[in-house]
Amino acid sequence: MKPYAYVRAATLDEATAAYAGHSGAHYLGGGTNLVDLMKLGVTAPDALVDISRLPLDGIELRPDGALRIGATARNSDIAAHPVVRDRWPVLSQALLAGASGQLRNIATAGGNLLQRTRCPFFQDTAKPCNKRRPGSGCAAREGSHRDHAVLGHSPHCIATHPSDMAVALAALDATVELHGTGGERSVPAAEFHRLPGDRPEQDTVLRPGELITAIVLPPHSAGLPSAYRKARDRASYAFALASVAALVEVQDGLVRRSALAFGALAHRPWRAHRAEEALRGVEPTRAAVERAVDAELASAEPLRDNAYKVPLARNLACEVLTRLAGPR
């Protein structure tokens, strides 16, 4: 590992200034993914700007009914928060479906969004990878790729985003608040991550030096039936093969509103707008739910090893949507 300088920031401005003052700087939150990538030689910062002690770990219910989750709040604390469990249960469930108890105690909300793909070819510096070394090629395309994308991939990259939390945030219409030298801005969580296109090295829309300061859950997704379901190779402590975050609001027997997002199928959480549109105003029978989910997955382009993901995701989505729409 390359030697690096270490700066502990006490304020947000100190953090962005330290980042600007060091070429090759990285922000350090919990470090559960970054430190691993440094050990693997995938990431080689010249300086770490430690933001883990910034006063950004609060979780506050705002007067308008939105919940503001500070960027350095730990995954375990978010999952256990009474308001999250009561009003946005899908987020708590998604967090608890990810990683291990130890890792959730370390990992921050912001870091969860910024974790990199677990594509084994990305993590192996001896292999070509357009995400790690732009223009070098994609070893996963011809290699073993049962874990890889079936939606929205490109000839340049077939990686998936590994976060469970981000899938729930996409379904909840959450927003991500950012702080940079150019000021503050916020972006929808569902648009925070990018599709790979011809720039797979760019995971997100984050600008250089910009920091995530908070994740905001909007009042309109609060208090609705919601759930997360994840299929994986073992019962606990494994990344998703496919996952689903959903919420459904039924009024007078008809779907008033639904939100559906898939995980582990694409380079970003896949918000299923087509399925949601197909469900709007209809009676949520099993057949109607299947038709809606099929309309979404019709655009899937599975690869040699991962065609199984399409029916797996379909069955997860149909089960969760039917359950949420059913009698309560």
């Binding site: 300088a5 470090g31 559960t32 883990s52 469990r85 708590s92 108890g101 130890q102």
Partner: protein, 202 residues
């Protein structure tokens, strides 16, 4: 890589924490830092390479070889210690970022007189909760942290979503198994590890 000599003396005003520029001739941008870790109740001040993991500092600088290096990538849990009372993978924590924190290792679980084992250590012996023992220090620290989490009402993916917040979660075998899934046992002693934890929570 030669590590700078550390000192176990308490911090003094002459030796401020943070970037350590070291002897003349070292690069201007410090790659080492002076930190204090409160390890098993004792403050330990030392200069560390910023790259050092907490695990390596515990094992190689402080002689605490209880926490084990298994995968060194946060996947096996054998390095689990308690940081500020919460279980964490010491292999993924830069030691420099833990400055000032309370660290409890497996060496700190037993009573200070060294005579009485922690109840979980006793239960692992009684239940044969290991074969080779390599994962055991991590299993023990993880179980201590896990029991505290359940007591504080932290849910797991086996907890009924309707379970009221901030009330203790009963640790069924399914709860214990999923909550300890971050600790791998290559010998497969899981049934006896679960039994040992069940003994202690009863």
């Amino acid at each position: 890589m030669t590590l700078l000599p550390g000192t176990d003396a308490p911090r003094t005003p002459q030796e401020p924490h943070g970037p350590h520029t070291g002897a003349a001739g070292e690069p201007a941008e410090a790659t080492h830092s002076r930190i204090t870790l409160n390890v098993n109740g004792t403050p330990r001040t030392l200069v560390v390479d910023n790259r050092s993991s907490l695990l390596d500092v515990l094992r190689e600088r402080l002689g605490l070889i209880g926490a084990k290096k298994g995968c060194d990538h946060g996947q096996c849990g054998s390095c689990t210690v308690l940081v500020e009372g919460r279980r964490a993978n010491a292999c993924l924590l830069p030691a420099v970022a833990q400055d000032g924190y309370d660290i409890t290792t497996v060496e700190g679980l037993a009573a200070a007189d060294g005579e009485r084992l922690h109840p979980l250590q006793r239960a692992f012996l009684d239940r044969d909760g290991f074969q080779c023992g390599y994962c055991t220090p991590g299993q023990l620290c993880s179980a201590v942290g896990m029991i505290a989490e359940a007591e504080a009402g932290h849910p797991s993916d086996a907890t009924d979503p309707g379970h009221p917040a901030k009330t203790p979660v009963a640790l069924t075998a399914a709860e214990i198994r999923t909550r300890l899934s971050g600790n791998i046992c290559r010998c497969g002693a899981y049934p006896n590890i679960v039994a040992a934890v069940e003994d202690v929570i009863e």
